[in-house]
Symmetry: C2
Subunit: 216 residues, 2 copies
């Protein structure tokens, strides 16, 4: 078995790998709020366990074994988030920290039964895909609102920023997962966008448009 610290490192490396293939010590340190020296120590340990490929100064990638563990943590995180929102009526901006703890509960039986209990959901409350019990999932094809053209329309299906302040803002604007939107106006000067959503017009800034993801 692995400690929850090891699991957190593997998960962090997994998420960073989606951006950059090879992951650096400093990237990991930043994403775990720790120091580069601590990361180096842990990388040695994970390399000894053959969960990562690590050569000094060269960054790391996950081995198949490491990726399998990372995916199982991601699966648990997202299933628990779904449970919290759908069964216990938490808001989508309140679940992340609790899921950070729950994702380290080790019982595979528990998580597989929880999955069945909830009807095997495919996406978590933030639109992120939930790996199945074999680690398999398919992501939506998503693009940011900022990449749409005038009169394009689509369905809100994910977010690029998971911070509670962003999620709360979207909630307030009623721009939540599943809502249909259409681009009513694009402001050339500041790149802000006016959306049509359920007969209302919603004006969002360039930043928001960049972090709000649409499927067509």
């Amino acid at each position: 078995m692995n400690t929850s610290t090891e699991e957190n490192y593997l998960k962090a490396i997994y998420h960073l790998s989606l951006q950059s293939e090879n992951v650096s010590t400093n990237q990991i340190a930043a994403s775990l709020n720790t120091k580069a020296a601590s990361v180096t120590d842990m990388l040695k340990k994970l390399a000894d366990k053959e969960l990562i490929n690590y050569a000094k100064y060269q960054g790391v990638t996950l081995t198949p074994g490491g990726e399998k563990i990372a995916l199982s943590i991601v699966r648990k995180h997202r299933l628990w988030e779904y449970f919290l929102v759908e069964k216990l009526n938490f808001k989508w901006d309140e679940v992340h920290d609790v899921a950070e703890e729950l994702e380290h509960i080790s019982s595979k039986e528990l998580i597989d039964r929880l999955d069945d209990f909830m009807g095997n959901p495919k996406y978590d409350p933030h639109g992120d895909p939930i790996p199945d019990c074999n680690g398999l999932f398919k992501a939506h094809e998503l693009k940011p609102v900022s990449s749409l053209f005038l009169n394009d329309s689509g369905i809100i299906s994910g977010v690029r920023d998971h911070s509670s302040s962003f999620l709360q803002y979207l909630e307030k604007m009623q721009l939540t997962i599943g809502k249909k939107i259409k681009v009513a106006e694009i402001n050339d000067y500041d790149h802000s966008v006016i959306l049509n959503s359920e007969d209302k017009k919603v004006h969002i800034s360039r930043d928001v448009a960049n972090n709000l993801l649409i499927s067509l």
Copy 2:
């Protein structure tokens, strides 16, 4: 906040206190599968935090603060066990180890919502009382089958032994929580007992009769 190790010590002291008022170092070591030397170290730490009353060589008691934490862990343990059995279809002999992990999830919001989601159950799958969000509960008045007389009857409401082998045995004999039983015969020689339960006769040994608890 307290570490889960500290929480485990407080919970162990709480359970042992129900038997013996003052709890000894060796009792704690036995119940946590650790060594007396380790226990002494932890007792100092818990005493520093004013969670226990501790005087060298004299054993310990919980302070009000320590008892409050212990009860919150017991509450979480039992509510999660209830969830596992009632919502996820675990058997009553399969839930303890998973609950040992889940009981350390720190969110109070989570456990209070879980409690509401399940309809605020008063007893866990083994008949043990579930403290409410203020740590209050009332236990059944329970007596072992071995203390009953011929033709006494009652309802199975708890167990004294929580081992899976005992729970599995009771399951096989269909002697589970809620079943009505009546003492049909008492064997003077080996103190075994024959019960009437749902028109069937069940023969149980002295040991089983000692560990099976009845409310009248």
